[in-house]
C-alpha cells in the first residue's frame, strides 16, 4: 500500500510539473496584460506536435525540440500582435472569448496539418524503468522533473536578477508608471507572450513520450494549467508552480485511490473548494475594490 502511494506521488509530481509550467505561462501573460490566455494549452499541443512532425521528417531530437519551441514562440508573438493588441481595453468576457477563439483556431490548424490521429515522441533516454524504493520511475519522468526545476529557477532568476525581468515585473504592477520610467510596455507584452508560449511548448515536448498527443491534447492541459494559476492566486508565478504540483499530486492520488475515471472531476472539485474558502487562491493577494 505504501509502495503504491509512493508510485502515485511520483506520477503526481511528474504531471504536476507540467501543470506548473503551463500555469506559469498563464501567470506571466496575466501579469503583463491582465488577460487569461485560454490558448495556453494549444502552445503545449503545438510544441509536441511540431516536434513529432519534425522528428518524422528526419531531424535529430534536440534540433526538432528546439525548432518546435521556436515555432510555438512565433505563434505566441503572432497571437499577441493580431488578437490581443487590437482588443486592448476590452472586458474580461471579451478577452476570454478572443483567446478561446484563438485556441479553437489553432486546434483547427493542427487538425488540418496532422489529422485526428494520436502521435508520440520516443523517450529521450530509453524506456527502461528505474526502480526507486518500491516504485518504478520512467527516465522520461526524471527529464520532466529536471527540466521543470531548471526552467522555474531560470524564470525566478530572470525576474529577480535581470533588468529585463524587473522591467516586465514593473509592467505587471503598474503599466502607466512603467511606461513613465521608460519601459517599452509593448515590447514587454510580446516578451511575456513569447516566454509563456515557449514554456508551454517545452512542457508539451517533455510529456509527448509519456502521453500521446493529438490536435485536442492541449484542451485539458490548458484548463489544468489555468486551475494551477488560479489555485496559486492568479498573477503569482511561484504560486502557479506550487498550485500545479499540488493539483498534480491530488489528481494522481485521487485517480489511484478513488477512481481514475473521475480524476478530472476530483481536480476541479479541489479547485472549487479552494475558491470557496479562499476566493483569491491560496497565495493570491487580497485586493480591495476601489469604489
Amino acid at each position: 500500500m505504501l509502495e503504491q502511494i509512493f508510485q502515485f506521488l511520483v506520477t503526481g509530481v511528474t504531471v504536476g510539473s507540467l501543470y506548473a509550467l503551463v500555469g506559469l505561462g498563464f501567470a506571466l501573460i496575466y501579469n503583463a496584460s491582465d488577460v487569461v490566455n485560454f490558448a495556453q494549452g494549444e502552445f503545449v499541443m503545438l510544441g509536441a506536435m511540431t516536434a513529432i512532425a519534425l522528428l518524422g521528417a528526419g531531424l535529430p531530437l534536440p534540433l526538432a525540440a528546439l525548432a518546435a519551441t521556436l515555432a510555438a514562440i512565433l505563434v505566441g508573438l503572432l497571437l499577441e500582435r493580431f488578437a490581443i493588441e487590437p482588443a486592448q481595453g476590452a472586458s474580461v468576457v471579451t478577452t476570454i472569448i478572443i483567446t478561446i477563439g484563438a485556441a479553437i483556431f489553432l486546434r483547427g490548424v493542427a487538425l488540418l496539418l496532422w489529422g485526428k490521429d494520436f502521435h508520440a515522441l520516443p523517450p529521450f533516454s530509453g524506456d527502461a524503468p528505474i526502480r526507486l524504493g518500491g516504485a518504478t520511475v520512467l527516465p522520461q519522468s526524471l527529464w520532466v522533473l529536471g527540466v521543470t526545476v531548471l526552467l522555474v529557477g531560470l524564470v525566478r532568476a530572470f525576474f529577480n536578477r535581470t533588468l529585463l525581468g524587473k522591467a516586465l515585473l514593473a509592467c505587471s504592477f503598474n503599466r502607466a508608471a512603467a511606461q513613465l520610467v521608460g519601459i517599452n510596455v509593448r515590447v514587454m507584452l510580446r516578451l511575456a507572450y513569447g516566454l509563456s508560449a515557449g514554456l508551454g511548448a517545452i512542457a508539451g515536448i517533455l510529456i509527448a513520450p509519456i502521453t500521446f498527443s493529438s490536435y485536442e491534447a492541449g484542451v485539458m492541459l490548458g484548463l489544468k494549467g489555468f486551475s494551477a494559476a488560479i489555485v496559486g492566486g492568479i498573477g503569482n508565478p511561484m504560486g502557479a508552480v506550487a498550485g500545479g504540483v499540488l493539483l498534480g499530486l491530488l489528481e494522481a492520488l485521487g485517480a489511484g485511490l478513488i477512481s481514475s475515471g473521475y480524476k478530472d472531476a476530483i481536480a476541479f472539485l479541489f479547485v472549487l473548494l479552494v475558491l470557496f474558502f479562499e476566493p483569491t487562491g491560496l497565495f493570491g493577494h487580497k485586493v480591495a475594490e476601489r469604489v
Binding site: Y30, V36, A83, P86, A87, A90, S91, V92, V93, T94, I96, I97, I98, I100, G101, A102, A103, I104, F105, L106, R107, G108, V109, L111, L112, V219, L223, F226, S227, I230, I234, S259, G261, Y262, D264, A265, F268, L269, V271, L272, L275, F276, P279, T280, G281, E289, V291
Partner: protein, 316 residues
C-alpha cells in the same frame, strides 16, 4: 407598448412555418435556434444584467436533459413530471452553488463555473449505469402534453417556439421588475447597490436559479426532441458557445441575446459544409467578431452602417 417588440417577434415566429412549412431552415434549424434562445436569454439575465460570467451553463442544460431522459426511459415516468423534476434538480443545485460561487469575481468566477461544468460533464461520462456513459441514452420517448404526443418537425417547432416565447416574455418582465432593477444596480456597482439596501447575495442567487431553470427547461425539451442525449451536447464548447451568443447579442438586452442565439445557430449550420475547415473558420470568426465588435454584432453592425452612410451620404 412596453412589449411591442415581443408581439412583433411572436408574429414573425408564428408566420414563418405558415409561409415555409417544409423549409428545413425554418422547422429544424428554427427549432434548434429556439432552444438556444431559451438558453441565451436565461444566461443573459445572469451575464448581461447581473454582470456575472458563467462558463459552465451547459451543465444545467444537461441536468434538465438527463433528468428527462433517465426518468422517462429507465423508470417510465410521465414526461411532464420528469421535466418538473429536472427543473427542481437544476434549481436546487444552482441555489446551493449560488452563494459561494457568485462571491467570486472576474477570472476566479470564470474558473469556478468552468470547473463546475467539467465536473458535471465527467459525471455524465462516468456514471454509466444511469447515464449510459459516453454513448449516451437512446430511445427517449416523445414528449406527452396531457395526452398529445409531440412528433414530427412542425409540431416540435410549435412546442419549442411556444416555450421560447414564454421565456422571452418572462425575461422581459423580470428585467423591468424590482428584481431586475436590483440586478442592474448590482452590475453597475455592488457597493452602491448594497448602500441602497439591496441584498446582493439574494439578488445574485435569484438570478442564478432563474437562469439555471431556463437552461434545464431547454434541456428537457431537447432530450425529447432528439430522442437521444449524450455528454457531447453539454461539454465546455457548448458552454462557451452560450456565452458567445450572449456577448454577440450585445449583453443586457433580451432581444440581443435572442438574436445572438439565432445568428450563432445559423452560422454553425452553414459552417458544416466546410468539414475539416469548420474548426479553423469558427475560431477565426469568434476572434474577429470580438476584436472588431466587442459591443456585440448588432451595435457593431449598426455603427458600421452609420459610418458607411456618413461616407456615401450626398453632401449638401
Amino acid at each position: 407598448m412596453r412589449l411591442a417588440g415581443f408581439y412583433v417577434f411572436a408574429a414573425v415566429v408564428a408566420l414563418l412555418p405558415v409561409l415555409f412549412p417544409t423549409n428545413y431552415f425554418v422547422t429544424v434549424v428554427g427549432a434548434s435556434a429556439g432552444l438556444h434562445v431559451i438558453l441565451a436569454v436565461g444566461l443573459n439575465l445572469l451575464m448581461g444584467y447581473a454582470g456575472q460570467i458563467s462558463l459552465g451553463h451547459a451543465a444545467f442544460f444537461g441536468m434538465g436533459a438527463y433528468a428527462s431522459a433517465i426518468l422517462t426511459t429507465r423508470f417510465g415516468w410521465y414526461s411532464l413530471l420528469a421535466l418538473a423534476t429536472g427543473l427542481l434538480v437544476a434549481g436546487t443545485v444552482a441555489w446551493l452553488l449560488a452563494r459561494p460561487i457568485l462571491r467570486l469575481r472576474g477570472h476566479y468566477l470564470a474558473m469556478a463555473t468552468l470547473g463546475f461544468g467539467i465536473i458535471v460533464h465527467v459525471v455524465m461520462v462516468q456514471a454509466t449505469r444511469w447515464t449510459g456513459g459516453p454513448d449516451g441514452l437512446a430511445g427517449v420517448p416523445p414528449l406527452n402534453l396531457l395526452g398529445w404526443t409531440v412528433e414530427g418537425d412542425l409540431p416540435w417547432y410549435g412546442v419549442i417556439m411556444a416555450a421560447m416565447l414564454l421565456t422571452v416574455w418572462l425575461s422581459l418582465n423580470l428585467v423591468d421588475s424590482q428584481v431586475g432593477r436590483a440586478l442592474r444596480a448590482v452590475h453597475g456597482s455592488e457597493f452602491a447597490a448594497q448602500m441602497m439596501g439591496i441584498d446582493i447575495g439574494r439578488a445574485k442567487t435569484q438570478v442564478f436559479v432563474v437562469s439555471a431553470l431556463f437552461a434545464a427547461f431547454a434541456g428537457s425539451l431537447f432530450a425529447h426532441q432528439q430522442a437521444f442525449v449524450s455528454p457531447d451536447s453539454f461539454n465546455l464548447i457548448v458552454s462557451v458557445e452560450l456565452v458567445t451568443m450572449v456577448v454577440l447579442g450585445g449583453m443586457a438586452s433580451t432581444f440581443g441575446a435572442a438574436c445572438g442565439a439565432i445568428a450563432l445557430t445559423l452560422l454553425n449550420e452553414w459552417l458544416v459544409v466546410f468539414e475539416d475547415y469548420e474548426m479553423l473558420i469558427h475560431g477565426a470568426l469568434l476572434m474577429a467578431v470580438m476584436i472588431f465588435m466587442p459591443q456585440g454584432l448588432f451595435v457593431g453592425l449598426s455603427q458600421g452602417a452609420r459610418r458607411l452612410w456618413a461616407m456615401v451620404r450626398p453632401k449638401s
